[in-house]
């Protein structure tokens, strides 16, 4: 069945390479596009991508190329795994060759900062493709390459995209779930990186399970608020792309955003911490973008605000933690402070009684 499955991955980072490997393993012929000539040669000759994935072997049906046109024209389905920052310019270049029958899947977990565009929206704007989807879930590339079992979500409004995407990447160690809520799946994929930075900071401060659990739960609450405001389905937050991905990223030392947080807690500045890493931590840009838009939209996101203050405001992790802990106690679901009276509504008599009661109380 191999000959009629032709796929490309645009972007040869760790996740892009892992996805290329998975598709080749499921029987597809795969082109892997990347800019770096030496790494292309390494993939084609040694079948490794040691810069990102050490010595982990890559399937022989993965052929790397620096020719974007070739990679686009070759495939029926493309997965785009480019850092959010350069996503649009590559998508624009792809747009010259993409045709309306091709399927495009984004595997990038991030937003475009200025207008908070999701990556699938960028694909839609820069190409003529319509059959667009996104892949997201608890998918640390190194664990996947090591053959450890996990699951992921392919999200798209199109059945066809979910079906083709699932068939291409599913295998003995990867289960695929479909979801129509592409807004939610992409939004959680991007937002969880903010919480991952905070989780890393928590670990870096030497805090234990209680603290981490509080952070994850309240983190999920605030990113869900933000996601729902953008039209996400509430159920997506408790799925693989929501809490699933959040648990993985926040508990694994392999996560870049998590390790960034740890370094910040250890006292490094943002620039200092980033200088020690050679992979992109999407959470940095996401924090910036989300912080800006949350303020504008009036969505309360205290943890994101705290991460922002550490990343860009030069504040110390322990100080920010102190501020977060001293916030007013609140109702868990409505966010109303516990010491604030219930809003006035209903009958005039009740209103009058409540006001009188307050005066005495």
């Amino acid at each position: 069945m191999g000959q009629d499955k032709r796929a490309s991955v645009i972007g040869g980072g760790s996740w892009g390479t892992a996805l290329a490997h998975l598709m080749a393993a499921s029987g597809a012929d795969v082109r892997l596009w990347m800019r770096n000539v030496e790494r292309v040669a390494e993939v084609n000759e040694q079948h490794t991508n040691s810069y990102y994935l050490k010595e982990l072997p890559i399937h022989a049906r993965v052929v790397a190329t620096t020719d974007l046109e070739e990679a686009v024209r070759f495939a029926d389905t493309m997965i785009v795994a480019i850092p959010a920052k350069s996503f649009r310019s590559i998508a624009f270049e792809m747009g010259a060759f993409v045709t309306g029958d091709q399927i495009l899947l984004s595997a990038t977990k991030g937003f475009e900062a200025e207008h908070l565009k999701r990556m699938s929206q960028v694909l839609r704007e820069e190409t003529c493709a319509r059959k667009i989807g996104a892949i997201s879930g608890p998918n640390l590339a190194d664990e996947i390459m090591a053959g450890q079992p996990t699951a992921t979500v392919v999200a798209s409004p199109y059945d066809e995209v979910i079906d083709v995407g699932a068939r291409l990447i599913a295998g003995p160690t990867l289960r695929v779930y479909g979801n129509y809520d592409i807004v939610g799946v992409e939004t959680f994929g991007a937002l969880k990186n903010i919480i991952a930075i905070a989780a890393g900071a928590c670990t870096g401060l030497g805090l234990g399970a209680n603290s981490l659990s509080m952070l994850l739960t309240r983190g999920l609450a605030e990113i869900s608020r933000f996601a729902e405001r953008h039209g996400s389905d509430r159920l997506t937050s408790i799925g693989l792309a929501g809490i699933g991905d959040l648990i993985a990223t926040c508990s694994s030392p392999l996560s870049r955003n998590n390790s960034l947080g740890r370094k910040l807690a250890e006292g490094l500045t943002l620039d200092g911490a980033l200088a020690t890493m050679h992979k992109v931590a999407e959470g940095v840009n996401t924090t910036n973008a989300v912080h800006m838009h949350a303020e504008r939209l009036g969505v309360d996101m205290p943890i994101a605000r705290g991460v922002y203050q550490v990343l860009f405001g030069g504040e110390k992790v322990s100080d920010v933690l102190g501020t977060l802990m001293s916030r007013a106690n609140r109702y868990e679901h409505t966010e109303r402070p516990i010491d604030e009276p219930e809003p006035i509504s209903g009958s005039v008599v009740e209103t009058a009684l409540a006001v009188a009661g307050r005066r005495h109380g």
Binding site: D4, D76, F92, G95, A96, T99, G100, D101, E125, E126, T127, C128, R130, K131, P157, Y158, D159, E160
Partner: protein
């Protein structure tokens, strides 16, 4: 549609529907024909219980009694005969009667008679009184050339916003004025009940749609009729809002029915290798200084929104008088109905260049046949995929509506005044605000004018960015004094209570609901925030 074409369309339609019913019945999880017929019978019986007005009620009842008695002992071939009979009965009433002679006559009479056509006035009164010259009143603007061109290059679906019962005749006349042929469209039976209206509707390309008929097969028939007509190259008119917009807002929730017919017709055209396979969707906005039914519409809107919280305590005056007032306003106030034609789109919502090619956001030509081809390059229908395509096309139409919405003086001034009153009572919720109104205090003319000037700056900025359109006469001068005067003149005369009225140096709101209605046309552009900020600074 020409009579010979229409008859051919009906033959094609019947065989498609009957074949589809039989084909799906053969599937494992399909609906067996007896169940399908029974279900249709049930829906029709139910309708006949309440639908006492129908002129063909007795015939209908007899027909369905016949179906019922035959159904109980029908074998396979008898079931198919019954099905054919039902389909034939439903399709027959769709039949219009287009006559070129009547069309020619109608379009020359229309300029004088249009306003009267719309209501239950007697034919005798049709020609009486001094009616406004329609060419002066209806202002056609926008990409008219694009519409004409696409009508040559392929088949057009014209998709206007829906404000008033005046819309269909207004569009009908506008098409004529633009040198276009009559467009086919499905109009509710209520528009056919008045003999004058019916005469014109039937002869201007309208076919009848009975909204009381709820049988699923009837809806399938209507959709497939539009599809067949499009495939035969017959342009269609379709109001994507489905019904008149109650709130006065520019509609963003669209019904996608006929857009999906456009896509289906396109795929069928490709499969049959038709020489002009393309279908183009041309959105268009209709904007009125004053809306004939504004009072009823906003009342209905508030009732639905507010449920029991809102109680109507005011009846509308009788209709014929309203019509006369309305038409007199058109004459005396140089009132305007603006028809703003948007840029053409393909059935997927992509923009289209002047040669009719679909283009992406960077102007690169798209081969849209690829959207619907299978691996071997054959055009195919995939209902789930096609529903998403249609939804996306609907989003493009919605965006076009917003951009081509024309700002008239009445909207701009109503919006400003409403927000001023709201600012003064910012502790009240909407329903209390509507009841309280401006409490008889009003605002000074100079205050109103100043804020209208600020709002004008804001909408002019939006217009420069291509996000909205300014009316070339009543608004685009930018002179706030003139704009306020124009709005006051319109608002003072037509409605039961004036929307706003000037006494001395103050302007008073007399009807908060209508003020809300006319202001709503400018919602969705973020203008509230700017005005509220300016008001907060001023106070």
């Amino acid at each position: 549609m020409r009579n010979d074409l229409r008859d051919a369309a009906l033959v094609e339609l019947r065989s498609r529907i009957v074949d589809a019913c039989i084909a799906q019945a053969a599937l494992d999880d399909g609906l067996p024909l007896d169940v399908l017929i029974n279900d249709t019978l049930y829906h029709e019986k139910k309708r006949l219980e309440t639908d006492r007005e129908s002129p063909v009620r007795a015939q209908d009842a007899a027909f369905w009694d016949g179906v019922k008695s035959r159904l109980s002992k029908a074998g396979d071939s008898e079931l198919k005969e019954l099905l054919k009979g039902i389909v034939e009965r439903f399709t027959e009433e769709i039949r219009g009667n287009f006559s070129p002679w009547v069309y020619g006559m109608a379009t020359s009479v229309m300029p004088k008679a249009l306003p009267l056509l719309l209501n239950a006035l007697s034919p005798k009164r049709l020609m009486s009184r001094g009616m406004p010259d329609i060419a002066e009143t209806i202002n056609i603007r926008g990409n008219v050339e694009g519409l004409r061109r696409m009508n040559e290059l392929g088949t057009v679906i014209l998709a206007p916003t829906h404000v008033s019962n005046l819309d269909s005749p207004v569009v009908g006349w506008a098409l004529f004025a633009m040198g276009l042929p009559p467009f086919t469209y499905g109009a509710g039976l209520n528009l056919f009940t008045n003999p004058v209206m019916s005469f014109f509707m039937r002869n201007l390309g309208a076919y009848r749609v009975d909204r009381r008929k709820t049988a699923p097969i009837y809806k399938d028939i209507l959709k497939e009729y539009a599809t067949v007509a499009l495939e035969m190259g017959q342009p269609n008119l379709f109001f994507p809002a489905g019904t008149r917009v109650r709130s006065g807002k520019i509609e963003d929730r669209l019904k996608l029915g006929l857009l999906s017919c456009g896509l289906r017709a396109y795929i069928n055209n490709l499969a049959r290798k038709q020489d002009r396979p393309n279908i183009y969707v041309v959105p268009c906005t209709l904007n009125y200084h004053l809306v004939l039914e504004a009072e009823t519409l906003i009342d209905d809107h508030l009732r639905i929104q507010g449920k029991s919280r809102y109680i109507i305590d005011d009846d509308e005056s009788s209709r014929p008088r309203k019509i006369l007032q309305f038409t007199q306003n058109l004459v005396n106030l140089s009132s305007r109905i603006s028809v703003n034609v948007g840029d053409p789109l393909d059935p997927f919502g992509n923009a289209v260049d002047p040669e009719g090619n679909s283009i992406d956001s960077h102007g690169r030509v798209i081969d849209i046949t690829r959207y619907v081809s299978d691996k071997e390059g054959r055009p195919t229908h995939l209902p789930q995929r096609d529903r998403v395509y249609t939804r996306e096309a609907g989003e493009s139409v919605g965006r076009s509506f917003k951009v081509h919405n024309v700002v008239l003086s009445t909207n701009l001034v109503a919006f400003t005044l409403f927000e001023m009153v709201r600012h003064r009572h910012r502790d009240l919720d909407l329903y209390r605000l509507l009841r309280t109104g401006d409490e008889g205090t009003g605002v000074t003319v100079s205050e109103l004018t100043r804020h209208v000037a600020e709002m004008w700056d804001a909408v002019a900025e939006l217009a420069r960015k291509g996000e909205i359109t300014l009316d070339s006469r009543s608004v685009s001068s930018g002179d706030a004094t003139v704009i306020v005067q124009s709005a006051l003149r319109h608002f003072g005369t037509y409605h039961t209570r004036p929307v706003m009225v000037r006494r001395g140096d103050r302007v008073f709101t007399e009807d908060m609901n209508l003020l809300l209605y006319y202001s709503n046309r400018l919602r969705g552009y973020g203008l509230e925030r700017e005005l509220q900020r300016a008001l907060a600074e001023a106070s």
